[in-house]
């Protein structure tokens, strides 16, 4: 799709696993597609038995042009 994007973004993604768990994943990438694949790789690396991802979505991106970009992740429940 893009190719246009030269900036890097800090992406926030949400993964719903088959067993019902919700993971929030933060990755640095240069395009939305890359953000997805990077997130998947990170989830794989993070889990011993390969996680079955039911749904993976990208919900926010922030340009890393400025210092101090980050996310606060709520972990207790969806939302």
């Amino acid at each position: 799709m893009t190719g246009e994007q030269t900036e890097s973004y800090l992406y926030k993604l949400e993964a719903v696993l088959e067993e019902g768990r919700l993971l929030t994943v933060v990755v640095l990438a240069q395009s939305d597609e890359r953000a997805f694949s990077t997130a998947e790789n990170n989830i794989l690396r993070h889990t011993v038995a390969p996680a079955k991802i039911k749904e993976l979505s990208l919900v926010e991106k922030k340009p890393v042009g400025r210092q101090g970009v980050g996310y606060v992740i709520e972990t207790s429940h969806f939302g």
């Binding site: 749904e55 979505s57 990208l58 919900v59 210092q67 101090g68 969806f78 939302g79």
Partner: protein, 538 residues
């Protein structure tokens, strides 16, 4: 370049990076550099620190970042005249690929501008008393107001002179060009909260008080509202402000923000954070320390909320004169349409045009004997309708991936087609406000919508698919933000999903009950169960 200010926070080492940029060179100084240098030497010559300062000139890089800009033009209080409208239209035609957007704070936005065009655009705007300066950046932005000021049967005084004074006081005022963050003012004496008081940093709403035996019409003062990813409703201060005290109070509040607002973290800099820390009581005390005694609160004259909508032909304060509230779907028009609108304003009205925070427009002062002919005009019959269909009429959208670097999904065209679909599919006799945004920043004010749609990208076997999270029950009537449901709906299913959700509400509601009231009555769990049942059968 103007003499540099010695700000009291200048020696604080914990300031964020942008603060150092602002200390090095005031945002307003970039205007001169744009005119004298960048507009002659081109995009490549722009220094990166100045690119941040471009916002003070009202320009912002758009997506893709290939040398094009968006520009926001201030329309103080949401009222402009036909001559100004024609100049705006010509700018869009000459430089902006024929595109004019009306924004959720009553400004006008252009896209596709090049830096070479900016000096000429500044001149053209100035020639009719308009400006893009400080329409973005850490400074007092476009002043939001009642687009019906002066003619509104539901206002308690004419706020036009106050908007003009505020605009004159703040625009290009170097005492206030370096605030911790963006700063949004709203003022309206409309009893239906036409200027969305609770989501502005500083807002004035109609009030009255008997002082020394005399009934005075004035304002209550609200501080610390704002949307974005961390929305807050403004707090009402225990003060009553006479009309002649508005500038003094605005100066006081803005001074408190400038001098005590937070400059360490940009994500914790808006006035709402200071207000949250101090509380309304301390904030009032500090304000009075600064500006002197103020009366305590009087009687609140706010009666509900009109959502910022004015559709149809309505009587004015002035007998025999009417205003016409028109629908501009998702706020987008082309230059020709704006020129035609200016023509109709001259031909039928007094030449003034109102811009609404619902991304719509209105025409003022139409004599009774011209109303019928006005209603028959092709632009009114075919495009900017007086009685739009329910969903097209109450749809609001941010810019989305079309031009916005932060967007996750496409919004504007999508919201337009979604509204058309819903109008084809569901018949509803009450407004249902749907706001669509492409990321959590909430330019399209998702939080105050009956149904707020926020974009996300979902990975499927077919690749990335755009989707929306559903939020329900927002309003500024008994002000509350909408709440998120557990549902992320991909765009192929979004229309049918919403049609079913709205049909369930339609069948279950009491007569005329608005969606947000319905959500309030039946509770979020019930709406979630509706959602679950729709998704099960989908």
């Amino acid at each position: 370049m103007a003499e540099r200010k010695q700000w009291k926070w200048a020696d604080d080492p914990s300031l964020n990076k942008m603060e150092f940029t602002k200390l090095e060179k005031d945002g307003l100084d970039v205007i001169e550099t744009i005119v004298n240098t960048y507009s002659k030497e081109g995009f490549q010559s722009i220094e990166s620190s100045d690119m941040d300062r471009f916002k003070w000139a009202g320009v912002y890089q758009q997506r893709p970042k290939d040398g094009h800009f968006m520009m926001r033009v201030r329309i103080p209080g949401g009222i402009l005249n036909s001559e100004q409208a024609r100049v705006l239209a010509k700018i869009a035609e000459d430089y902006g690929r024929d595109l004019v957007d009306v924004t959720t704070r009553q400004a006008v936005q252009f896209h596709w501008l090049t830096v070479e065009s900016l000096a000429d655009i500044f001149d053209r705007l100035a020639s009719v008393g308009l400006s893009s300066f400080e329409a973005c950046g850490d400074c007092p932005r476009q002043i939001m107001g009642n687009p019906l000021a002066g003619i509104d049967p539901h206002e308690v005084l004419d706020t036009r002179p106050l908007v003009a004074e505020l605009e004159k006081f703040f625009l290009m005022n170097r005492e206030f060009s370096n605030l911790p963050r963006k700063y949004k003012i709203s003022i309206s004496a409309n009893v239906h909260n036409a200027a969305h008081a609770q989501i502005n940093d500083l807002a004035f709403t109609p009030a009255k008080k008997t002082i020394a035996g005399e009934e005075v019409i004035g304002f209550h003062v609200w501080v610390g509202g704002g949307l974005s990813a961390k929305p807050h409703l403004a707090k009402k201060l225990d003060v009553f402000c006479r009309p002649e005290e508005v500038i003094k109070v605005a100066e006081g509040v803005t001074t408190l923000f400038r001098d005590f607002g937070y400059r360490q973290k940009r994500t914790h800099a808006r006035l709402k954070f200071l207000v949250a820390d101090w509380g309304a009581e301390k904030f009032k005390d500090e304000l009075i320390n600064l500006v002197g005694e103020l009366e305590t609160q009087g009687e609140d004259l706010l009666k509900g909320w009109n959502g910022g909508y004015f559709y149809g032909i309505h009587e004015q304060q002035q007998a025999g004169l009417y205003y016409a509230g028109l629908s501009v779907p998702v706020g987008r028009m082309n230059a020709g349409e704006l020129v035609e609108l200016a023509h109709l304003a001259d031909e039928y009205g007094d030449g003034t045009i109102g811009t609404c925070n619902t991304q719509n427009v209105l025409i003022r002062n139409i004599p009774q004997d011209k109303v019928a002919a006005f209603q028959a005009e092709p632009l009114i019959v075919n495009r900017f309708k007086l009685t739009p269909n329910t969903f097209v009429g109450y749809a609001v959208s941010c810019t989305g991936t079309e031009y916005c670097n932060l967007a996750i999904v496409e919004t504007k065209e999508r919201m337009r087609s979604l509204a058309l679909y819903l109008d084809d599919t569901v018949t509803l006799d009450t407004p249902l406000r749907i706001h669509m945004i492409g990321c959590p920043n909430s330019c399209g004010q998702r939080q105050i919508a009956d149904i707020g749609l926020q974009g996300a990208l979902v990975k499927t076997s077919a690749g990335m698919v755009e989707a929306f999270d559903i939020h329900v029950g927002g309003t500024l009537e008994e002000a509350q933000f909408n709440r998120k449901l557990n549902a992320r709906i991909t765009v192929d299913k979004l229309g049918p999903f919403l049609a079913q959700l709205i049909t369930l509400y339609k069948e279950d509601r009491s007569e005329g009950e608005q969606y947000w009231r319905y959500v309030e009555r039946v509770g979020l769990e019930k709406i979630q169960s509706q959602v679950d049942s729709i998704l099960q059968t989908a």
